[in-house]
Amino acid sequence: MTEGTENLVDAAASADASSRRATVWEQLVRNTSVMVGGAIMALMVLIAICAPLLGTMDPSDIDPAWRNKKPGTERTLTADDGTQSTWVYLMGTDTLGRDTYSRVIYGAQVSLAVGLIVAVLSLAIGLVVGMVSGYIRWLDGIVMRVMDGLMAIPGILLAIALVSLADAGLVTVILAITIPEIPRVVRLVRSIVLSIREEPYVEAAISVGTRLHLILIRHVLPNTIAPLIVQGTYICASAILVEAILSFLGVGIPPETPTWGNIMAEGRILFRVFPHNILFPGIFLAITVLAVNMLGDGLRDTLDPRMRKRL
């Protein structure tokens, strides 16, 4: 941009910035991606929390008599006192006669939990390692070599290999997905630290005798928050996907636990006849990941416009 227009646009930007604190929320509310993504996410969280109240049955209830039913199949249940009621298999049943609808609804719990925990864990670890690495020269070399090594192993492959080490379970899966995400967060934080420490206001703080830990907390840390929130949403989306992939390949969370990946893994065998066991969880999974990604894009545009360049 030219000097003239830049100043003009700057003038506009600074008029805008003067009321920035008040408008961050307004900007978020005005952003369609944030609103749509956020709304779908809120709905999914609600579904996960209220799973028992949504007309579900026990998702692990096996009923050999009602195996492989198409969506919409009706069944008459007789209670102990003799009253009869009709149960509709909204999404059909799987090869063991479990209700797919119930399993899909309960599956939201695992997916969202994995997404959130992985995001929080990798951000927390990455933030600490990245900050320390960006400010302590001799440590930086070592840390970055380890990170380079970790990054040289394609993420999903590393996760698959890591789950094979321990007994399959939620904790193993979460750790296996978190570890490959850490190097990217470390690099992001480190690059922010390295660029902020060159800022004149940080040098001014050094000149007035501010101690290192205060410089990090006061001047560097606040600059990492917006990019980390954005990065966190992307990690959450990717973690939900990777969890589903691990379960689908049969190396993730044990098959009796209802997760979207597990339901689809079950459904693979009879896919040609009963595609619903792949389609329904697949749609839920895709919509959830889409919502998180949209939320991430929207947050990036409002909180951290400079990051548009990155992915």
Binding site: D148, A152, V163, S164, V251, I278, D297
Partner: protein
């Protein structure tokens, strides 16, 4: 230039070294005694001890690492627990399908992603831009295997355009070979196209804000000339970089896609090895994939100097 190549080559050694150490430690952290596994259910304690000796399992950890790395460098990846075969041999048998799938996917990706990214950047803010961006977010969100099954359902089962699953070697004829690769390649490329289209759009958009683009317009050039001769060329370095980094995504996708389409490649081998807790094979596959990934990104680094005259080594 030559000095730079040497330097970059040397710089990959510590990276690959880290990978080797990780993978080695992973094996040593696993539960169970490899010797006992190799000896099988009927192995006598003597047999097990003999295997322990031959594998060097009684040596200190560092010596074991040395032996193992030494074997790796000679192409000896050890014995598969599961297939009871040389792992190296096993891998060689599985390379062709994976390589074929990766190459077709890569070609498809670049042919689609770069043009739509450039158009989106030029038509910034219009419905075309929004459509490309929407596709890109969606492409990023649809799980590879869900997409795979949808494509099979639509194009192989409802409309019988393609075979449902399976793989034919190129020696069985080019068309049967390619025919079976089309659906898997499309499946695998969608997420990759989403990634590359996005970075292409972002880089071109950024270049379009540069001073020399204004200079180009001030010379009286048409928008298409500006786009082709000035913008795309300067945006090439970040695009190529992400194509290189995206190989990681591609490798992850290969594992899933091969499972969905029943293609007997390295991805399937990985899954089978993990399911069978076949640690030597898992190690070997990780090492091979990481090696390929590092080498590709090394090549990407070396192309920078061809793309941007400012980068001279």
């Amino acid at each position: 230039m030559f000095g730079f190549i040497i330097q970059r080559l040397l710089a990959t050694i510590p990276v690959l070294g880290m990978v080797a150490v990780f993978v080695f430690l992973m094996l040593r952290l696993t539960p169970g005694d490899p010797a006992a596994v190799l000896a099988g259910d009927n192995g006598t304690p003597e047999q097990i001890e003999q295997i322990r000796q031959s594998l060097g399992l009684n040596e200190p950890l560092l010596v074991q690492l040395g032996i193992w790395v030494g074997n790796l460098l000679q192409g000896d990846f050890g014995q598969s627990y599961f297939f009871k075969k040389d792992v190296a041999e096993l891998i060689l048998l599985r390379v062709e399908p994976t390589l074929a799938l990766a190459i077709t996917t890569l070609i498809l990706t670049i042919a689609v992603a770069v043009p739509i990214g450039v158009i989106a950047a030029y038509k910034h803010g219009t419905w075309i831009d929004r459509a490309v961006m929407a596709f890109s977010v969606a492409g990023f969100s649809v799980p590879v295997f869900v997409l795979g099954y949808i494509l099979i359902y639509v194009f192989a089962m409802e409309v019988k355009l393609f075979p449902v699953q399976g793989y034919k070697e190129i020696s069985d004829g080019f068309w049967p070979f390619l025919h079976r690769l089309i659906l898997p390649s499309i499946t695998l490329s969608v997420i990759y196209i989403a990634l590359i289209a996005r970075i292409t759009r972002a880089s071109v958009l950024e270049i379009l804000g540069e001073d020399y683009i204004r200079t180009a317009y001030a010379k009286g050039l048409t928008p298409s000339t500006v786009l082709r001769k000035h913008a795309l060329r300067n945006a090439a370095v970040p695009i190529v970089t992400v194509i290189g980094i995206g190989i990681a995504l591609l490798i992850g996708g290969v594992v899933v896609t091969e499972s969905v389409y029943n293609i007997p490649g390295l991805g399937r081998l990985t899954v089978d090895a993990v399911l069978g807790r076949d640690y030597p094979t898992i190690q070997a596959v990780i090492i091979v994939f990481s090696f390929v990934y590092v080498v590709i990104n090394l090549l990407v680094d070396l192309t920078y100097s061809l793309l941007d005259p400012r980068i001279r080594y």
